[in-house]
Subunit: 349 residues, 2 copies
């Protein structure tokens, strides 16, 4: 409950763009998910890829050496791969030093910190470049004030972790933009931060400042502007609920969308914990969210039906919409159901 002295206003992390994607020595596309996510969701930020000997994975982007990429406008190398353990492979270091020498900053979301590799810190210092570990929150995050901010906000929430809160937020962001609405995607996790080029790793923020971090993640904006905020965890998760509540209280959303995976019965990894129902999540989110925004409402439900056959998925989506009396869609499948969800989130014109 004790705020350290605030020397200056804190801001979310801001990544230098565009990116050159680093693929290391990866042979298995499963380990290059970050690179594929960046290609799919932030393709305009990615100007090329490179790897080291042994790399057998490609995103389909042009292969470029760091110096060439810098000449083409790149301003950072993003490590787009993860090995088991999330360590910085010794084989990668010369290629990463080459990037620093070429004028590029380094961006990593691995468990291992770039700053713990002496060859990288030496090269960064020599060339005046930055090593950006996305798991490290920005300094000086303030305690939340609870002050109502201007502009509109949407937060994705969930019945559990890892069932589509990021992709739902990205899909809504794209759909809002396609309708000509002024909108920002506000990233709260590592992959999201790389996609957005900025954000705060909410799970790594000290608890006393969690809601404050959510406040600076979506600052005051024009009254008609929307922030679509990537949610984390679940209010019903016995470990990650503090992250979810800090995001809810600090985001003070006008609208939330509940993300759910129909085939999941229990919290991932915790067989003693059945998933809450979508209705329970709606009810609790309304109740807690009203503390900071009395106008909060549920825009609808996003289902992750990636493991269902198409016909089954559409039937299930329609049945859930009928049962809940709310728009229900799988944002990745899109279609009329998703258009209706977007309509409901935006509300009456």
């Amino acid at each position: 409950m004790n705020a350290p002295f605030q020397a200056r206003a804190a801001e979310p992390l801001l990544l230098p763009r565009p990116y050159l994607l680093f693929l290391g020595d990866t042979r298995n596309p499963e380990f290059a998910k970050t690179a594929f996510g960046l290609r799919d969701w932030a393709g305009e930020l990615c100007i090329g890829e490179y790897g080291v000997e042994g790399c057998e994975v490609t995103t389909g982007l042009p292969n470029m050496a760091p110096r060439e990429a810098y000449g083409a406008g790149a301003r950072s190398v993003v490590i787009g791969v993860a090995n088991q353990g999330g360590v910085i492979n010794a084989d990668w270091v010369p290629a990463l030093v080459e990037a620093l020498e070429a004028g590029l900053d380094l961006v990593s979301g691995l468990h291992a910190r770039l700053a713990d590799v002496p060859a990288l810190t030496d090269a960064a210092r020599r060339h005046g470049r930055r090593l950006i570990d996305i798991r490290t929150p920005p300094p000086g995050i303030p305690v939340a004030t609870g002050r109502k901010r201007s502009g509109m906000r949407l937060l994705t929430v969930g019945t559990d972790c890892a069932l589509g809160k990021k992709y739902t937020a990205l899909s809504l962001w794209r759909a809002f933009a396609a309708r000509g609405i002024e909108v920002d995607f506000r990233a709260s996790g590592q992959t999201g931060i790389m996609i957005a080029g900025s954000g705060i790793p909410m799970d790594a923020v000290v608890a006393d400042f969690e809601a404050g971090a959510a406040e600076i993640l979506s600052p005051d904006a024009d009254p008609a502007h929307w922030d679509v905020i990537e949610g984390q965890g679940s209010l019903f998760h016995p470990a990650y609920s503090p992250v979810s509540l800090g995001l809810l209280h600090g985001s003070q959303p006008d609208v939330f969308v509940v993300c759910h995976s129909p085939l999941r019965s229990h919290v991932v990894g915790l067989e003693d914990y059945p998933l809450p129902s979508v209705e329970e999540v709606i009810d609790l989110t309304l109740r807690l969210g009203r503390r900071v925004n009395p106008a909060i409402r549920c825009g609808g439900v996003a289902l992750n039906t990636s493991e269902m056959a198409e016909a089954d998925a559409h039937a299930h989506i329609a049945a859930e919409a009928g049962r809940l009396g709310l728009p229900v869609a799988d944002p990745i499948r899109g279609g009329a159901a998703f258009d209706a969800l977007v309509d409901a989130c935006l509300g009456p014109a």
Copy 2:
């Protein structure tokens, strides 16, 4: 949502005892609250006090030089004072170095870190002593598992910060012990940690590990053993709610006591936020707490009536007990009302 690799089991901070209290150059007793709290609540852990030139405050404990205190059994010096800003006054350093030389560890809850004072780190290294900053959580805190632990647990919760959650927990701990019950006070804030000699500064833990920290704060115990856990913040506080929810989910309490200050109408420092009612706190705590312990119940209400005249306080306590249909007491005033609260917390024998 990403747990770093766990090298070893984490444990709460453990302070070397007994203490010698350091009073610095303090002239105003208001700035020596920590020392007075230690004298009042952990008198058996305090064998003396010392200060530097200009000190005009005393706890009434014997004045002792560090070497003398070490000879009498002391194993650490606790900085029992805070100045404006919570800094380590340059005038204090020689006296603190003297303590390290005498074989005592240093314990501080100030904003400034002991380890940032070169003269102290040098002396600590030279003499093999430890500098313990209570604001720094222990390393290696795990992600919560949600697994139900053995033993009984009581958590104090509140309508706001700073209205008696620590003193209520301490009072219940003493009362349980006086009835011959096996009981531990589990401290979650700095002053509480000094009083208990161990604990975790829950407000300084990274959000992803908040509930995990609460789990290791009250480990498995004998079925009849009680942990009385110091609460923090409030589920209704727009900044500190993540700390409160992490404590609730990780503590999985069997019983909670709601702490409230009858004369307070709004959250301290946030005039846009009216305090929730005691009934709202009971209802929300039950609802969120059932996720981890379906047997959770409210033991009663602790009112901080320190600013009311005695007759007014007793009348108000009786009226609230009638209105709520629950035991209500001011733990500091004690009496039959407090005995009834203790009875209700312990439940039928």
